[in-house]
């Protein structure tokens, strides 16, 4: 990070020097600027060589849910715009209070009028043999995340020491990144400082179900390894192999600098209610301080401290009174919330709700008619409400009977309006825990013109980090603006503010004919889109303008551009179409010849009843296709968002149970629909009887033959989320089965969003909608079918044959060859 000129000659303002470019240091400066943007000249020193980011969002970065850019709080522009000098990557190593200067490791010496120490905390490294081996790290900053990602890249095993919030988030991220993870926790239950035994046990079960090994009561004796970490040995002698060890056993306030400077330090740097240390010109804030005997390791107290600090700096002192904290675990799919004191004790009463089948556990601890603690597992929707009641010390005696069922129920009626629930929150109720934003701040930000979710995120930052409060912010928008709220589905990608459905509608309504035209008319934010929106636009135009739109090859993924599937070594696999899964000696001979002629290292029978030839070089593809074409075979589109296979069983021709000619119908369906481009891949199957050997009920369109006709099923999927089909209807004849299939495909092509399979599409629009269009509306069905067949009249040219004849040869041949000795060929 470059060193900016620190002081203009004429600048005579008081100089505020901040040690620490983290969440506390920068938040304090933000609060100060909000009160008086010009009073102080500000210089920030940071140990890490980067701008200010949201440290509590490192877990989602590790888990791959966020990128570093997403968690930056203040980018370089913020420092520039506010005239803040940032010296990053060069930590302060000494404070001279007499001379009122600070000195960095690099030798930069800067004088101050007011000094703010926001050094945060250091990870606690347990003093066991081997703690300094390469491969043993903490989980504290972006560099640690980088080390973990590198390790995950190499695979292997990781041991996380510490089953608290941070350790479990690290373990979750590493596990998602493919490492075999073992968590060692000294105490008998996980997160014992935030969760009671019951919730800790539920959490352990859930994490183990995700493949992590959790050892509680595990006391680390040493970390072993020769030159680098190789494993962790427990005191009971157990040895756990590890390529990476993450220590997440706790943090300690980082006080060395303050102590060396002679400031009063207890567990942390001691401060008064205005965050002033034992030296009136030195302030401190965040995890490094001790206030009223308390030190904090969570983010929420920091927001309160920074407000009090800034009030003091502009001489309108308010005074910090300490914080009550709540905790949420950022492990996606596992909802855990805790707040306050749940240790029980005299006069404490527990209200508990358990719903074992839903995996829900709620416990609210009440003392003297006031909530003193809450632990929620599995359903944390009411966390904010309990926390708000707790902080306010509100009398809950009137609510007591229904308290545990949550805010909606307690405020009258099981299905109360979620907006009413948000409306009932007080102005200082916290909406966004990640960024410390209250309801009052969100509302005032909306009132000042932030009329969309993105605008709110861009201004007061509510819901801009982990996003778990997005619903609350949306409700606040709706409450504040009434019908003016700009809501709607998510945008296509960061290149546009329009959603998929808007873009499609406008393409048709305005008769747009090319990708550049769409980008121009719909105000695209990037010059030529990105790898998300370009393939989608290409498809939408292709679907809207059959026979007219010229496909943009540069907006297709490589597989669709090369009509083969790229493999991890850069070679391709080739799947010729086998109609209905039928083949013959001529085709098999041609495939065998191709395999030998081009040295394909593997041939595989696919799940879709075809043969996949692996290891073909890009340059050889046209020749391979020519050979396959010569035997009568065409592209199987195994690479495309297109019709893939039509799987069949042998049916009435051979099978003693078969009721209809399932093979014959399969071949006819495939002949009708091959070559069509779709929002996503599309699979068909036809089974000859309800024994369903062709697995038709997990396909996008499945036919199950019965004695009296054909059952038509839609929306099945055998992928990550297995979904059985919904029964669309039953028809009597083969021709009807074909007609309904064509109409269904066209409806999917016209209405589903790009990269949306039929299963999520049907769940989004509802089966009733599909039935209304395909079953109930005969003229509509016929129109859909006609549009599909019209579109097919342009798309059933074998792309392989065109390439084999030399079309688009530039995709396959290098532009030039260079032999270092012989120059260019």
């Amino acid at each position: 990070m470059e060193h900016r000129p620190i002081k203009a000659e004429s600048d005579t303002r008081e100089h505020l020097v901040v040690i620490g470019n983290g969440m506390a240091g920068c938040r304090a400066v933000e609060e100060l600027l909000a009160r008086d943007p010009t009073r102080y000249r500000v210089t920030i020193f940071g140990a890490e060589p980067r701008v200010n980011y949201n440290r509590i969002m490192l877990s989602p970065v590790l888990a791959g849910e966020k990128s570093f850019d997403d968690i930056v709080i203040n980018d370089a522009d913020w420092y520039a715009t506010n005239g803040i000098a940032l010296i990053a990557g060069d930590p302060v190593v000494a404070i001279d209070r007499a001379a009122k200067t600070v000195t960095t490791r690099g030798g930069v010496c800067e004088s101050y009028d007011k000094l703010l120490i926001a050094t945060g905390s250091d990870p606690f490294i347990i003093p066991v043999p081997g703690k300094d081996l390469p491969g043993v790290i903490a989980f504290r900053d972006m560099d640690d995340v980088g080390t973990m990602l590198d390790a995950a890249e190499r695979g292997g095993s990781a041991v996380v020491i510490g089953g608290g919030l941070l350790g479990l988030e690290a373990a979750h991220g590493l596990s998602l990144r493919g490492m075999k993870v073992t968590v060692l926790h000294l105490m008998p239950t996980l997160m014992e400082r935030q969760l009671d035994e019951a919730a800790g046990w539920l959490l352990k079960q859930a994490l183990e179900a995700r493949g992590q090994t959790i050892l509680t009561g595990a006391d680390t004796a040493e970390i072993v390894g020769d030159g680098k970490v190789e494993g962790v040995r427990l005191k009971d002698g157990t040895l756990i192999p590890a390529d990476l060890v993450v220590m997440a056993v706790g943090i300690r306030p980082s006080t060395a600098l303050a102590r060396d400077a002679g400031l009063a330090v207890g567990r942390g740097i001691q401060v008064d209610d205005h965050m002033v240390t034992s030296d009136p010109d030195v302030l401190a804030v965040g995890e490094c301080v001790e206030h009223d005997g308390q030190v904090y390791g969570l983010v929420a107290p920091l927001w309160d401290m920074c407000r009090s600090l800034a009030d003091g700096l502009v001489e309108q002192p308010s005074g910090y009174r300490g914080s009550v904290t709540s905790t949420k675990l950022k492990v996606s799919g596992i909802d855990v919330f805790s707040a306050g004191d749940f240790s029980g004790g005299d006069g404490c009463e527990d209200i508990v709700l358990r719903d074992a089948s839903r995996g829900v556990y709620k416990r609210v601890i009440v003392k003297d008619d006031r909530i003193v603690g809450a632990v929620l597992y599995g359903d944390t929707a009411d966390g904010n409400w309990y926390f708000d009641l707790l902080k306010k010390q509100e009398d809950v005696s009137d609510l007591r009977d229904v308290l545990i069922f949550g805010q909606a129920f307690a405020s009258g009626g099981g299905q109360a309006d979620p907006k009413a629930a948000v409306a009932a929150l007080s102005d200082d109720a916290e909406i966004c825990g990640c960024n410390g934003v209250t309801k009052g701040q969100v509302v005032s930000c909306i009132a000042k013109g932030a009329h969309s979710l993105d605008a709110v995120r861009g201004t007061c930052k509510a819901s801009a980090s982990c996003g778990s409060c997005t619903g609350l912010v949306e409700n606040l928008l709706a409450l504040t603006l009434g019908d003016d709220v700009q809501s709607g589905p998510k945008t296509m990608c960061k290149c546009t503010s329009f959603g998929h459905d808007d873009v499609r509608r406008e393409i048709v309504a305005q008769g747009m004919k090319s990708i550049p035209e769409v980008m121009q008319k719909l105000h695209w934010l990037t010059p030529d889109g990105c790898s998300s929106c370009r393939p989608a636009l290409n498809y939408y135009l292709l679907c809207a303008l059959p026979g007219e739109y010229v496909d943009d090859q540069q907006s297709r993924f490589v597989n669709e551009r090369l009509h083969a599937n790229i493999q991890k070594d850069g070679t391709y696999s080739v799947v010729p179409r086998m109609w209905g899964g039928l083949t013959n000696p001529r085709e098999l001979r041609a495939i065998a010849d191709v395999v030998e002629k081009y040295n394909a290292p593997m041939v595989k029978v696919t799940g879709g009843q075809r043969l996949d030839i692996f290891g073909i070089k890009k340059e050889d593809l046209p020749a391979v296709w020519a050979d396959l074409n010569a035997a009568g075979m065409v592209s199987g589109h195994a690479y495309g968002k297109a019709l893939r296979t039509v799987k069949t069983c042998v049916g009435s021709e051979w099978c003693r149970f078969g009721t209809q000619d399932s093979t014959g119908l399969g071949v006819k369906l495939e002949r009708m629909s091959w070559g069509s481009w779709m929002p996503h891949k599309f699979k068909i199957a036809v089974s000859g009887c309800p024994r369903n050997c062709a697995e038709a009920t997990i396909k996008d369109f499945g036919v199950v033959c019965v004695d009296s006709g054909y059952e038509l099923h839609v929306g099945g999927n055998g992928g990550i989320h297995v979904r059985a089909t919904d029964l669309l209807c039953k028809v009597a004849t083969e021709q009807e089965a074909m007609d309904y299939c064509a109409a269904f495909i066209q409806l999917y092509r016209e209405e589903a969003r790009y990269l949306e399979r039929t299963a999520p599409w049907i769940e989004r629009v509802g089966l009733e909608h599909i039935k209304a269009r395909i079953v109930d509306d005969a003229p509509g069905r016929e129109a859909l079918r006609a549009r599909f067949l019209y579109s097919q009249s342009f798309s059933q040219d074998d792309p392989w044959a065109q390439r084999a004849e030399g079309a688009e040869a530039e995709h396959h041949a290098p532009m030039a060859r260079f032999t270092p000795q012989k120059e260019i060929a």
């Binding site: 966020k66 850019d69 090859q553 540069q554 532009m815 030039a816 032999t819 260019i824």
Partner: protein, 114 residues
């Protein structure tokens, strides 16, 4: 302009599709990917993503970047650096255009492809 001690002439600019790429095969080494952006700028990189060695020449070119076909890493065409959260760098090869011909730096080509 033809091949010199310093520069290799690899062909016409128009041989490279707009928002697309072609490759130069280097005997005994990795290919060089030559890109042409929507604005008509030409860039050359080693045809190898820093992540899992995907062929960048097969990716979607947008703005001044290419998306690797294997895992969608975005690589800057001008610096070879991975963009966003990803970390890594692909060697770049200096390019110049002379009379519609594309020339790439001989020394960098040899070094990158070695």
């Amino acid at each position: 302009m033809t091949t010199t001690a310093e520069w290799l002439d690899i062909g016409w600019v128009d041989q490279i599709p707009v928002r697309g790429s072609r490759t130069v095969q280097v005997e005994g080494g990795d290919d060089i990917a030559v890109f042409r952006t929507a604005e008509g700028k030409i860039f050359a990189l080693l045809d190898r993503c820093p992540h899992k060695h995907g062929r960048l020449s097969q990716g979607i070119v947008h703005g001044g970047a290419v998306a690797c076909p294997l895992h969608n890493w975005r690589i800057s065409l001008s610096t070879g650096e991975a963009l966003g959260e990803d970390k890594g760098c692909t060697p770049t090869v200096p390019v110049k255009i002379d009379g519609g011909r594309v020339l790439i730096c001989r020394a960098s080509t040899l070094k990158a492809a070695a």
